[in-house]
Symmetry: C2
Subunit: 399 residues, 2 copies
């Protein structure tokens, strides 16, 4: 049997098809520019001989409906999906589950309505997800659609972590609280970390660092999330590609009053023009490292600020947890940047954190330990796999 994972945005659909006996991804692809004059279509798959194949195409995809049609046609045409009865489940990534969803659920009308009701909390994401969910339910009436939420893993946080120090009615009436995101990734790497530590997850205290274009940290006690750096939205926390992360809230009031920006302009500024991009004009960490090596001071500041913020979160979560078994690095930067991993752990010997610089510097793929044998806190690099986690959770939910 197989599981299809869909990540629908407002004008795109990303997908992966997994074989559920060995969890190999036998196809993955992306449809971009839905609704525009010319859509972008890409797919990679493993053919009958076990060879990787890929195809690219451009043609108009007016709406999500045609997008799903195309995906199914293409999967069947390339022989990776015989027919729809082969699908045990469809897993949908949904960014925001609001305060309601603590676990994945099979979609019905009520679930759809609940996801719709949190659109004000995730105006950029949930509408696109809903478009994909609706079409999938129509197209595959016999296959259960399961929604897997980026927020669900963080639902174990206690009120001290998820409440903000603002008037209570903003929480009770407007649902303003910390939700946290990247939950599927934090959950996936937590499980893998437990396996690497050879310890039950329920006995592991971890700090997981998902460092990609978006970046977040999570504090995990006995396998459960107790705190995370993203908040009501993915804007809070670490320095990210184009997002500011933590900032004096009064900066927004200052911009509003003195620069005469409106809510949309301030949101754009902090979400799209800030972070690494705002500090040094570039948001790609590889390029920034390169520029810093060549002596560019703004690029160096962007790296130093990233490290400074990371170190503060490591310390904060260390204090919250009291004892830490491992710190996990994942995401494009966490998996690949020797320098960021090194810098984030530098000077933390007193906390029992000692990096094995040679192991850290090895550029090899896959899961690995980069701390010294004596380091009390293990340092782990674990490539994340949110799609696999979604597929497995979707199957578990319908089984």
């Amino acid at each position: 049997m197989k599981v299809l994972v869909l990540n629908s945005g407002s004008s795109s659909i990303k997908y992966q098809l997994f074989r559920s006996d060995d969890w190999v991804a036998i196809a993955s692809g992306q449809i971009g520019r839905i609704g525009e004059a010319e859509g972008d279509l890409k797919m990679e798959w493993i053919d009958a001989d076990g060879q990787s194949q890929c195809s690219k195409d451009n043609r108009p995809i007016p709406a999500h409906q045609e997008g799903i049609d195309h995906i199914v046609d293409k999967l069947q045409e390339q022989g990776v999906l015989a027919d729809v009865t082969e699908l045990s489940a469809i897993g949908h990534r949904v960014v925001h589950g609001g305060p309601h969803f603590k676990h994945p659920v099979v979609v019905d009308d009520e679930v759809e309505a609940e996801i719709r009701s949190v659109i004000p909390l995730a105006p950029l994401h949930n509408p696109g997800h809903l478009a994909g969910i609706e079409v999938a339910r129509k197209h595959f009436p016999s296959v259960p659609s399961v929604v897997v939420f980026d927020t669900a893993f963080h639902q174990t946080m206690p009120p001290v972590s998820y409440r903000y120090a603002i008037p209570e009615y903003l929480y009770t009436e407007h649902r303003i609280r910390r939700y946290g995101f990247h939950g599927t990734s934090h959950q996936y790497v937590s499980k893998r970390a437990a396996a690497m530590l050879d310890k039950p997850l329920a006995e592991c205290n971890l700090i997981t660092l998902h460092l990609g274009n978006g970046a977040s940290a999570a504090a995990i006690r006995n396998g459960q999330c107790v705190d995370t750096s993203m908040g009501l939205t993915p804007l809070e926390g670490l320095v990210m590609g184009t997002r500011s992360g933590d900032i004096d809230p009064a900066v927004l009031i200052y911009l509003w009053k003195n620069l005469d920006l409106n809510a949309a302009a301030v949101s754009h500024l902090l979400n799209r023009q800030s972070g690494l991009l705002g500090i040094c004009g570039v948001n790609d960490m590889r390029e920034i490292s390169h520029q810093a090596e060549e002596g560019n001071k703004r690029a160096q500041l962007a790296i130093d600020m990233t490290l400074h913020r990371l170190k503060k979160y490591i310390g904060a979560y260390y204090a919250e947890l009291g004892e830490v078994d491992a710190i996990v690095f994942t995401g494009g930067i966490g998996e690949n940047s020797v320098e960021i991993r090194h810098g984030a752990c530098e000077g933390l010997k007193r906390l029992g954190i000692e990096m094995d610089e040679a192991a850290n510097a090895e550029r090899i793929p896959g899961e690995r330990v980069v701390s010294t044998p004596d380091s009390e806190v293990k340092l782990l690099v674990i490539p994340t796999n949110e799609e696999l986690e979604i597929a497995q959770q979707a199957l578990a939910t319908v089984s």
Copy 2:
């Protein structure tokens, strides 16, 4: 000789008069409701026999000019100030020195203009300070007026700490950065901590926690401030009496868009209706402790959130500093709340932080050590004295 310390607000003047040979405060007082129909006048002083005296009065004080006249008359009338030639200096507290002032300075027209130029950064404070400074310069033409800034001690922070991850022009053109406040208090307790540790301040790594109605933490490396929790304004950081401290900046955008609040309303909400008050309806920690003991859950949450945020800052600054000699508690809550000090240090054994619960529970005034003899990090309670620090800095500046 004597030093007069003035803290002028928009409708109030607080003052203290110090004898500079032994630094005893021989008089202190407050004028409130300047410009209203009826002003509030209070003074305490030590008379010729060494006895404490006090007086209260109500009469109209139309402006700062009449306020200063009153203070001088009153000090002379009670015999604590023979005449103005006894004053070596007048020290003025100024909340915001902007990026320019790293040290106290004698006021001249240029300095006044510079303080005026940062009014947009401190619209609630600097105008009141300037009113006091102008009048003092006119009234005491022969006595140097020295301004001592709440921001100055934090000016040693490196760019990684004071820059926000927002577009660079907001820093270069609009001076948007972390400044930090309560600097005079953090500086005062740092010096006292070094004395208690019997170590040169320049060799001390400290975390200083000023916990009053406003609250801030500072990280001090080798006697110099390297980070602090308040930012562009005193809104950022810890949970305070009525201020939110850290929050997802997107919450402001949400309020703006969905609750239709304007900049002034959001500022009022986060500065005046949030913090402890927002969580549990009360902003006085003594009252909150009392309610929590009686089983009030919202009061307990307010305490728990205060502790959670404090612990995160202790951990963050610990990681930044790498090694910490002492953690210092000051301010109304830091000096008096057994429970907050206990909770902030609980579970931090792994960081070498061990409280002596009996010493912590003793309700005695004055400087004291509340850690166990074995605690690697010393825990100190140090009553702050910002007025004394201002007086001493003012005298040092003119000497």
